[in-house]
């Protein structure tokens, strides 16, 4: 059963095709992505939507070629229904509807955040993990509890990736800022640490003040690389502490990483150390499925369709503000 998934919540358009290799195991047959890189500033929703609409047909064809499939050989069409930027979501939804109508295959509307968690389950060994999801827009800790996916802690202002991008932009590092900040951070003496704000409030976090304080530090003369290092040490400690609190609170024994910022080697290292100290297993999926991608949408769509939950065309409107705990869980 091959299912095609279209991701389009923000700057990335992704088309992936997956099948179930054995019960609960996700096999990726194709996973094509294209990301809008604005020349300056952040993502403009309409520009991102235009980018997706322009590249959509090509990515679709490439993904089908990679998988060696004709559209009629697909068993279902999934798309990111929410949460995300409305114009971007609508492009992905329109592509999915057109494909579903043409092939006569059922539609599945997928929650982007839950897809990050489910693809981690499908590609690793975890059965009932906590997801530490760190991307540009989202920074949250979520898990399955009492019949729903629930958020146990999240950022109170901006996503960690967004804070990194803001800081990077102030110092002429192009979008996305994370990789260059990571490279610079690795060049300094780790034993020294410049102080920055650390904002964990109970189970929640905040990053806007951190970005501002880091920028001020550079303006006051601190070397950029040292501030990059301090930024990572403070911000990553905050998300890992939040994950640890959520693990302690729920008693879960598995952690899965997701989101573009989770590609960072230092964040992965910190998550692994925390898990070792707690006796919890830790799994980071490969980079192609950590970032926003179509394969994770396809995989959760496959699970939803297998459980009998197909989406009627008339209910396939996008849900830009969909909350994780609004998702009806039919597949577990």
């Amino acid at each position: 059963m091959a299912v095609l998934g279209i991701e389009g919540t923000a700057h990335t358009l992704g088309v992936g095709i997956v099948e179930e290799a054995s019960p609960g195991r996700c096999k990726v047959l194709a996973n094509r992505r294209a990301m809008l890189r604005p020349a300056e500033g952040g993502i403009h929703p309409r520009e991102a939507a235009n980018h997706h609409a322009e590249l959509g047909p090509r990515l679709l064809q490439e993904a089908l070629n990679d998988a060696g499939l004709e559209p009629t050989q697909l068993e279902g069409i999934a798309f990111s229904q929410g949460p995300g930027l409305g114009p971007c979501l609508r492009v992905a939804a329109t592509m999915a509807r057109a494909l579903a109508l043409r092939t006569g295959r059922p539609l599945a509307g997928v929650n982007h955040c839950v897809a990050h968690l489910e693809v981690g389950r499908g590609m690793g060994t975890a059965l009932d993990p906590m997801l530490l999801y760190v991307s540009g827009a989202n920074t949250q800790v979520l898990a399955f509890a009492r019949g729903r996916y629930r958020v146990f802690g999240e950022t109170l202002d901006i996503g960690l990736g967004n804070a990194l991008d803001k800081f990077a932009r102030d110092h002429d590092i192009p979008f996305p800022g994370g990789p260059e900040v990571e490279r610079l951070a690795a060049t300094v003496d780790h034993s020294q640490l410049r102080p920055l704000p650390y904002a964990v409030k109970g189970m929640d976090m905040s990053f806007a003040g951190l970005a501002t304080a880091a920028t001020r530090l550079v303006h006051d003369g601190a070397p950029l690389a040292e501030v990059c290092h301090a930024f990572q040490e403070h911000a990553f400690a905050a998300v890992v502490e939040t994950a640890e609190r959520a693990l302690a609170h729920t008693g879960k024994r598995e952690l899965v990483l997701g989101g573009g910022v989770a590609c960072n080697a230092r964040l992965q290292q910190m998550a692994r150390i925390m898990c070792q100290e707690r006796g919890v297993t830790c799994f980071a999926p490969p980079r192609e499925v950590l970032v926003d991608n179509g394969a994770m949408i396809a995989w959760l769509g496959l699970l939803q369709l297998k459980s009998g939950a197909s989406l009627p065309l008339e209910s396939s409107g996008v849900l830009p503000y969909q909350r994780t705990d609004q998702v009806e869980v039919t597949w577990r």
């Binding site: 640890e244 302690a248 925390m274 609004q326």
Partner: protein
């Protein structure tokens, strides 16, 4: 002299110990290997100090909390008075209807006093309220690790909301118990209207954790 931990939380462990000839509970904030050593030392010391300050302030305001015998910032350890008793969670599971109601009214008065003193608990679950064994002893609040000294409405609303959620996980019908709690809280807290209106906002956010 110490033994195996009695409890292990996300950031601290509780062990029974002897201090100046007394039996005490030690709350130790343990080193986290994932954090930079400088940040780790700072957070553990600050949080230990903050929690001690909150416990002392709460006690000064007449809120029953464990006595603080010692604050060791270097070791990030508090030495606290042990309270013999059961958690409210356990007590509610075994008590009769009138005892349950009395517990919740007592808790409403206690939390009112805490909030009117400009303090919030931050993790007000039924596991962090002790019902002492001693006859006539008042409900005792423990674990101020997430507490704050603040006049803001939000953390007070969060306290009320967390308690409501914790009750939902403890008893079958939360409504009469939470209503008793809230009635007592309303009668005794000068800032009750603001906090309860914030509680309603928080419920509306659908942060159904």
């Amino acid at each position: 002299m110490t033994g195996a931990p009695l409890a292990v939380g996300a950031e601290a462990e509780i062990v029974a110990a002897t201090y100046l000839g007394r039996t005490v509970l030690e709350k130790r904030r343990v080193t986290k290997g994932y954090r930079h050593p400088a940040l780790d030392a700072l957070l553990r010391a600050e949080r230990t100090r903050d929690e001690a300050n909150l416990l002392v302030a709460a006690r000064r305001a007449g809120v029953p909390v464990p006595l603080v015998y010692d604050v060791d910032r270097g070791q990030a350890t508090l030495r606290l008075e042990p309270i013999q008793g059961h958690t409210l969670r356990e007590a509610l599971a075994t008590a009769g209807a009138s005892d349950r109601d009395a517990h919740m009214r007592n808790l409403g008065r206690t939390v009112a006093r805490l909030h009117d003193a400009g303090l919030t608990h931050g993790d007000l679950t039924t596991s962090n309220v002790l019902v002492p064994n001693a006859d006539g002893a008042a409900l005792t609040l423990i674990d101020f690790g997430l507490g704050a000294a603040t006049q803001e409405a939000e953390p007070r609303g969060v306290d009320l909301h967390l308690l409501e959620e914790a009750l939902e996980a403890t008893v079958e019908d939360v409504r009469p118990l939470f209503a008793s709690f809230l009635a007592a809280y309303r009668d005794h807290a000068a800032g009750a209207p603001v906090a309860i209106s914030r509680l309603e906002d928080i419920r509306m956010r659908g942060r159904n954790r």
